[in-house]
Symmetry: C2
Subunit: 212 residues, 2 copies
C-alpha cells in the first residue's frame, strides 16, 4: 500500500522521527569522515552525509554544515584554517566512524576517542584518516549561507587525492565498490553496494550499452 | 599501491577523465529523477546525483544545478513554477533514468522519450514518475548562487511524500533498501545496496549497538 505523508504530517511528527524521515527519504548518501585541526593543533573528526558535487573544473565539492550541531567544531576549524579532508569509510571502520558523531567536548580528539589515526602528509594542514582507503584534501574557497535555516555550504577545492592505484580506471572513474567504500542511509544505517552496471553516455537516438 | 593525484594532475587530465574522477571520488550519491513542467505544460525529466539534506524542520532538501548543462531545462521550469518532484530509481527503471540524461530538445518530454509515465496527483503542480516507489513533492524556497563556478543550490521544502507503507519504520526511518532504491557512483554507475547495520545513537561513553 502506498502511504501519503503531507507537510502537516511531517510537522506533527515527534522531533526524532522527523529527523530520521527527512534524512533518509531522499536516498543513499555520500559517507565521509571530515578531518580538521585548529591553529592550536586541536584535531577534530566527524562523520558527514552531506557532501555534494559542485564542479569538475576547477574540482569543487560542497559540504553542508549546521552551525548548531555536533558539526560546529568541524566548521570552526575549517573557517580557521581553510583546510579539511574527506575520508571514505569501509567495513572495517564504520563503527568508529559512527562513534565520531557523539558530542565530545572541544578538547577531545575524536580520532583518539574513536580509535582512528590522524595522518599528516605532503604538507597538507588538515589530518587524513590513516585507515581510510580514499582520502581527499580540500581548501575552502567559498562559504555560502542558506538564509531559510542558517545552514552553510562550504565549497572546497580538491588539492590532493590518495586512492588505491587499482581502483582508478583509465577513463577517470574511481571504482569505490572495489575500494570497499560504504554508503549511508539517514544518520545511522550503513550499507555496502553491489554494481548493476555502468552505462554508456546517453544520446537521444542511441541505445544504451553496458560499460566494462 | 596508493596513488597520489595532485591538483596539477587533475587540471592536466582530459576533460571527460576529470569529470568522471571528480564526480565519483567523493562517494556514492543520492539518485533521483527530477520531474518538472513549465507554465505552458511542457514536461521535463532529468536524472540528478546532487540532492543534499539541508534541514528537517522545516523539511528542506537542496538540489545543486549547473546552468549550462542538460539540467538547464529542469532549472528554468523550477524557477518558473517553484515546483519539482524527486523520484527514486529502482532496478526496473534505471536504464530509463539514465536515458533521461541525454540532451533532448526543449520540446521533447523525457518522460515519453525514456518510457516513463508522468503522474499528477493531489493538485501538486509538477509531475511525479509513476513507476517510482518513493516520490517527493517540493516547493522552491530559496535560490543560492555559488560564485566560484556559477552553480546554483535550489532549496526546496518538502510538501508531500509518497512511499510504500511497509518501508516506513516506527522511528521515522525510511527503509530504502526494502523499497529497492538504487545509489549512483559518478555519472553512469548504478548500484543496489546491502545493509551492514543500523547503529544506535552515539554518545561519548556508551557502547554502540545494532538496531533492528
Amino acid at each position: 500500500m502506498q502511504k501519503q505523508i503531507t507537510y502537516g504530517d511531517i510537522l506533527n511528527l515527534e522531533k526524532n522521527q522527523r529527523i530520521a524521515l527527512i534524512n533518509s527519504v531522499a536516498g543513499f548518501k555520500c559517507l565521509n569522515l571530515v578531518g580538521t585541526v585548529n591553529l592550536a593543533g586541536q584535531e577534530n573528526l566527524a562523520v558527514f552525509n552531506s557532501v555534494v558535487h559542485i564542479g569538475a573544473n576547477p574540482p569543487l565539492l560542497g559540504l553542508v554544515v549546521r552551525p548548531d550541531s555536533v558539526e560546529r567544531h568541524s566548521l570552526s576549524n575549517i573557517l580557521e584554517t581553510a583546510a579539511f579532508t574527506l575520508n571514505h569509510v569501509h567495513e572495517g571502520i564504520y563503527k568508529q566512524a559512527h562513534q565520531s558523531s557523539a558530542r565530545y567536548p572541544r578538547e577531545v580528539s575524536e580520532f583518539e576517542a574513536c580509535g582512528l589515526s590522524p595522518e599528516y602528509k605532503d604538507d597538507f594542514q588538515a589530518p587524513f584518516v590513516k585507515e581510510s582507503r580514499i582520502q581527499i584534501g580540500l581548501e575552502l574557497k567559498e562559504r555560502v549561507d542558506i538564509s531559510i535555516n542558517g545552514s552553510i555550504v562550504l565549497v572546497g577545492e580538491i588539492k590532493v587525492i590518495y586512492l588505491p592505484e587499482d581502483c582508478w580506471k583509465q577513463d577517470g572513474y574511481v571504482d569505490l565498490e572495489k575500494a570497499g567504500s560504504l554508503t549511508i542511509l539517514g544518520l545511522d544505517s550503513y550499507h555496502r553496494t553491489q554494481k548493476l552496471a555502468r552505462l554508456t553516455y546517453a544520446k537521444p537516438d542511441k541505445k544504451l550499452e553496458q560499460k566494462d
